[in-house]
Symmetry: C2
Subunit: 387 residues, 2 copies
């Protein structure tokens, strides 16, 4: 009655029939879970009472469709829901909106998988380097590349460059800024990147190794792309981005620009979207979707995540989900390095290798300072642990 | 021992002494809460064992400082922590990182307030129009402006323009796109914005009112700013942005560009950061910080939030927190319209006015269709409810 001039035939012609799907974990008894699944179908699309929609194509093809619904456990159900590809409008932002826009604010559900159609895969950059690309850059074909961070905040650019030199001499392959280093007066971006990149390259010239320095380029959007490009000019070997701070979409754009450097994704802020706290009914997304699938879609070549057993509360299962999503088939996208981190010590490394295999970046930050007074010795032990 | 060339005097000279603060709610017994507070001070700054820091300025001034610690309730404590202004580097992204970057991934804490120093306020746009500016644009000096949404997805640009016309004729002041409308084939951005803006302006020419059409301009970053500018050219009266999808920082930048249109913020995706689900230990941020303080800092002139009593799980207290944060003193920033939404019906309006006063945008979307068969009559009743 409200939509007299609506034309089913016209809309029908505009739909390709291609659909993408998302899976949700639903909490509650079966009746509740089925009702939540039906709610997702409408909330993420028409946001309108289905009974008031014009009959035909909108309820049949624009509203999401429950493809499968099954019991996972007591009071836990899984639903796979499909959506017309056209709803995403060929845009990452709108794709994310359909996957988990409004329902991010609803209880008793969790996004656990996203399966883009080919039309959506076509507009996402995915990793431009991936595991093989980063291995080639650092010249480490098989073992896990060694990864550490320059800190603490408050050191000068020269202090940080001196640390970078020591790490490179010690055999660390990838030396990144701590994610809190941006453009503070004590180590301004330009000066820091120049000094640290030089320090690492000078060591490489002596050792013949191919260690890289990775500055944090997260910055206000009007400076973000320029900083990444400048990092390349100054001799950085990759860039680090915190997409929670700058937007997953900005990272996607950076990947799409193909500036010639891999992107390492840091979870500051965004990690709060995938926290399964003990005793809490899960909310947000699974760790696998957030740190794995979404980061990879928008172009991360490596995803840094807080490993279990460190100072963050992820479970072993959460982390295995991230590693799987980083490397499993996802259209033609390259596999991405998972990078377990967050309070890792040398003694955790064997366990990580057992769990995740060699295709990971082992990030040990302050753990490299905690295990002895001599950084060179500590780096040597770091290398021994992965060899 | 690790930082031989570190220069305390140099660092000391680079610090102004200005500090900003953030407040956190901490869950657990007092000992646990004190330990979490101390952890925040290090995790958000040096991310390094405090015992291994070079003595002097870094532990004394770079590490966060607990300013107050008090008991709020049984096993609930409040800590206000201060940070050197320089840590934020004059950047929104890094300010957000210090407030709640890594600790977004930690349990038993919640960000409940952010109090920027003047140096940080200076780099944030805040609302460019705010409550008074929007009231002037729509010509509604006192009562709550009426606000609705064009939906469902699947309608053509002409269908949506026809709805916009009916709403404008019915006396609705602000008519926005549903947040899922971007650039789909069934109602492409350019065509939709042109038709809907024209429809509303044509009605205004007859009625003498100043209703506005507000397109959703959320889009991939390379199109986002252009869409907002184009919206202005096509006659839109404001723009809607979902900062969860595009990034809070992109919205900040848009506000800073002063394109001459107010920005209405929609919580798609980001709202999941402030969910206090019954039975769950709170995580993320309080609703007041997310929907209120942060949105306002980055330039929202109105913040749409899922009101209690609708189809989202926020409590009355959560919502009161949003309204307070939207309008309380925040440097020299203009107050922002809170806009309760999310399944509101006409019958909810009196309660909203009692709770929030007249300085809000009352968003009734599908509720305007549910309350009777005739849109004109429904709009008339909508106006009666706020008058």
């Amino acid at each position: 009655m409200f939509f007299e001039n609506f034309d089913n035939v016209r809309l029908e012609r505009q739909l390709s029939g291609n659909r993408f799907t998302a899976s949700y974990r639903l909490f509650g008894d079966e009746k509740t879970a089925r009702s939540v699944a039906a709610d997702i179908c409408a909330e993420q699309t028409v946001e309108f009472p289905v009974s008031l929609l014009p009959s035909g194509t909108i309820p049949e093809k624009i509203v999401g469709q429950i493809e499968t619904f099954e019991r996972e456990d007591e009071n836990v159900y899984l639903a796979e829901i499909s959506f017309a590809e056209e709803l995403a409008a060929g845009e990452w932002t709108q794709f994310l909106n359909v996957l988990f826009g409004n329902i991010s604010m609803k209880p008793r559900l969790q996004l656990i998988a996203a399966r883009p159609s080919q039309g959506i895969l076509d507009v996402l950059p995915g990793p431009q380097f991936g595991i093989a690309g980063i291995r080639e850059i650092v010249g480490v074909p098989e073992r896990p590349p060694l990864f550490t961070a320059l800190k603490p905040m408050g050191l000068s650019a020269d202090n940080l460059a001196d640390l970078a030199r020591q790490f490179a001499e010690g055999g660390v392959d990838i030396i990144k800024d701590d994610h809190g280093l941006s453009d503070q007066p004590f180590s301004p971006f330009e000066e820091r990147v120049a000094r640290c990149a030089d320090a690492v390259q000078n060591v490489n010239a002596k050792t013949g190794r191919q260690a890289i320095y990775v500055p944090n380029v997260t910055a206000p959007i009007e400076k973000f792309f320029d900083r990444a490009i400048r990092a390349k000019e100054l001799g950085a070997g990759a860039v680090m981005v915190s997409p929670g701070l700058i937007g997953l979409d900005a990272m996607r754009r950076l990947a799409e620009m193909k500036i010639g450097l891999p992107i390492l994704a840091h979870p500051a802020w965004i990690g709060g979207f995938a926290l399964n706290l003990p005793g809490n009914c899960p909310q947000g997304t699974s760790c696998g979707v957030l740190y794995g699938t979404l980061m990879r879609m928008v172009g991360a070549d490596a995803t840094i995540f807080p490993n279990y057993g460190g100072r963050f509360p992820l479970s072993r299962e959460d982390c295995m989900g991230i590693v799987t999503a980083s490397r499993e088939k996802l259209g033609e996208m390259r596999p991405m390095f998972p990078s377990p981190a967050g309070g890792m010590e040398l003694k955790n490394i064997r366990d990580m290798i057992r769990n995740y295999g060699a295709d990971m970046l082992v990030l040990v930050g302050s753990g490299l300072f905690r295990c002895g007074d001599n950084l060179a010795d500590n780096c040597k032990r770091f290398l021994e642990e992965v060899s």
